[in-house]
């Protein structure tokens, strides 16, 4: 991930998981979890539009998506986060410890 992508990812995650996200290093695992979070939030109207394509089971979205698509995905979710925050909060809670484990390299 380049600097802009890391910032978009962080901007998306701060409203979900709080200010402490600012100290997280945005890594591949956090990107993959975010992709899963958005895909899992399919019940939020319009949220699935952000998921670029169906992912084969078990592959890393970070490696599977073309760089440009990855950038567009991150930019789009970051720009639209306020619209969907309440809707995706439940899924975010479920995945909370996975995000923390990924951020801490556990």
């Amino acid at each position: 991930m380049n600097l802009y992508e890391r910032q978009d990812l962080k901007d998306f995650l701060v409203p979900l998981y709080g200010e402490r996200v600012k100290s997280w290093h945005m890594n591949e695992q956090l990107f993959n979890l975010t992709y899963e979070l958005v895909a899992e939030s399919g019940l939020c109207s319009g949220m699935m539009d952000f998921v670029p394509r169906t992912m084969p089971y078990g592959v890393s979205p970070m490696r599977y998506l073309a760089k440009e698509i990855r950038g567009i995905f991150l930019r789009t979710i970051s720009q639209n986060k306020k619209q969907y925050i309440a809707c995706i909060k439940g899924v975010a809670i479920k995945m909370r410890s996975q995000f923390d484990e990924a951020a801490r390299g556990l």
Binding site: V14, P15, G18, E19, R20, S41, L43, K82, I85, A86, C87, I88, K89, G90, V91, A92, I93, K94, M95, R96, S97, Q98, D100, E101, R104, L106
Partner: protein, 167 residues
């Protein structure tokens, strides 16, 4: 001799791996007895993760001010948490908050059969699991609400829930 060694190893591994649980003290009257020998314990700025080979759980205190970035739930937090699990309680909330509660419940995706509410002494416990790999426990302990997130099966959720104890 070999058999004797095997038997003593078996006995000691049973004794040390399953017989003991450790206590996590969460407040003056709340503790959780969690299975012994986790792979690791990690403390974050406001949370604690206890990780095993195939599952983990995390504890943090529910903060009504920051749970939602744009909504301060202070004063409403207990009723809000109860409403996640109970449609009747949800219907008594202000309409806007009932919508937020419904969205949260939908996102948690709990299987209705896994939703439980029970008391341990004065502690009120609410649990749910999505029947995949995620579960959650809220413990209402007077004015403090503890949140436990389980990444694991319903079996592990039940294991933690039944080991919530009053001190």
């Amino acid at each position: 001799m070999e058999n004797l060694l095997k038997a003593s190893f078996l006995i000691s591994s049973l004794f040390f791996s399953t017989a003991f649980a450790d206590s996590l003290i969460l407040s003056a009257r709340l503790k959780i007895e969690y299975p012994a020998a986790p792979l690791l314990i990690s403390h974050g700025s406001s949370d604690l993760i206890i990780k095993y080979k195939d599952w983990s759980f995390m504890h943090e205190v529910f903060d009504p001010e920051t749970f939602y970035e744009q909504i301060d739930l202070t004063g409403l937090e207990v009723e809000f948490v109860r409403s996640i699990y109970d449609d009747k309680k949800r219907s008594k909330l202000p309409e806007w908050l009932a919508v937020v509660s419904r969205q949260l419940a939908d996102g948690l995706g709990n299987d209705p059969d896994t939703v439980k509410q029970f008391k341990v002494g004065k502690l009120e416990i609410l649990t749910g699991h999505d029947n995949k790999n995620h579960g959650q426990i809220f413990i209402i302990d007077e004015s403090t609400i503890h949140k436990i997130i389980i990444t694991g099966s319903k079996k592990e959720l039940d294991l933690i829930a039944k080991n919530i104890k009053e001190r």
